[in-house]
Symmetry: C2
Subunit: 126 residues, 2 copies
DNA sequence: AGTGTAGTACGACAACCATCGAACATGTTG
DNA sequence: CAACATGTTCGATGGTTGTCGTACTACACT
């Protein structure tokens, strides 16, 4: 569990305090590389109703903040679920001001496990 | 958790000790009906490497006995995994003499969650 | 009847997991 | 700076899970 994701800061530093974010860091949040995404981990991440809701929500509208889901759990539990999804490689999280922007790793998942995400999303509508 | 599966013994009792098996009971082993199969349960059942191996094995050759997989776990653990798969609706188990025959519930799964099983099976080959 | 084979049932145990609350970090804004 | 908003970290807790071993059931074969 290490490798990659160490670029992006230096080159973006030029236009820093002029622009708001748009490219911001993603630092500290560690995501698995595409080839490192494991099937069992993805299936486990998706096997929780709460997380399934999150993923279904992101499928409808990407780049949503954690709070925008208003799930029936506390903030800390929420953090937990987003981390599970992130570490499994299902979503990507970026810092953006005081919030986190979450997005589905559609392309990575489709390349690695073709058809899986779509079938789960279709199945989740029931 | 109840419903269905209460027939089969009485009517089959007529030709009992004449024939070997071929149609045998399935009694006691409770399987969910197709409409009762839940996505989260299926994903959870598939999120274990050992169970993934079982399912992949059944995809190659159906109707295999529990012992034919020689998994690196004891018999009781084995029983446990097969039960999880059965109760989630992923496999069907039938008594047959001294063994249990396991088969994938392909049709049920395909009808209920189209494409899911196939994408998982494809993904599992890595 | 006796031995063997295939699997289940039950109890135990350690690891994991979803959940919470309280305290903290960080960025935004009055 | 102070107040606020959005999340994270940490410890605790109760429930679930994967694993095992031992004991048990059920069928088959000699």
């Amino acid at each position: 569990m290490d490798t990659h994701v160490t670029q992006g800061q230096a080159s973006a530093a030029t236009a820093r305090l002029v622009e708001p974010p748009t490219v911001l860091d993603e630092g500290k949040l560690c995501h698995p590389a595409r080839e490192e995404i494991e099937l069992a981990a993805v299936l486990h991440a998706l096997s929780d109703p709460m997380r399934l809701r999150i993923v279904a929500g992101l499928a409808v509208e990407d780049k949503r903040t954690c709070g925008s889901f208003d799930l029936p759990v506390t903030k800390s539990t929420c953090t937990h679920h987003f981390r599970v999804l992130r570490e499994a490689g299902v979503i990507r999280q970026r810092h953006e001001g005081t919030t986190r922007l979450n997005s589905l790793r559609r392309e990575d998942l489709d390349k690695r496990f073709p058809g899986l995400l779509d079938s789960v999303l279709t199945a989740a509508e029931a």
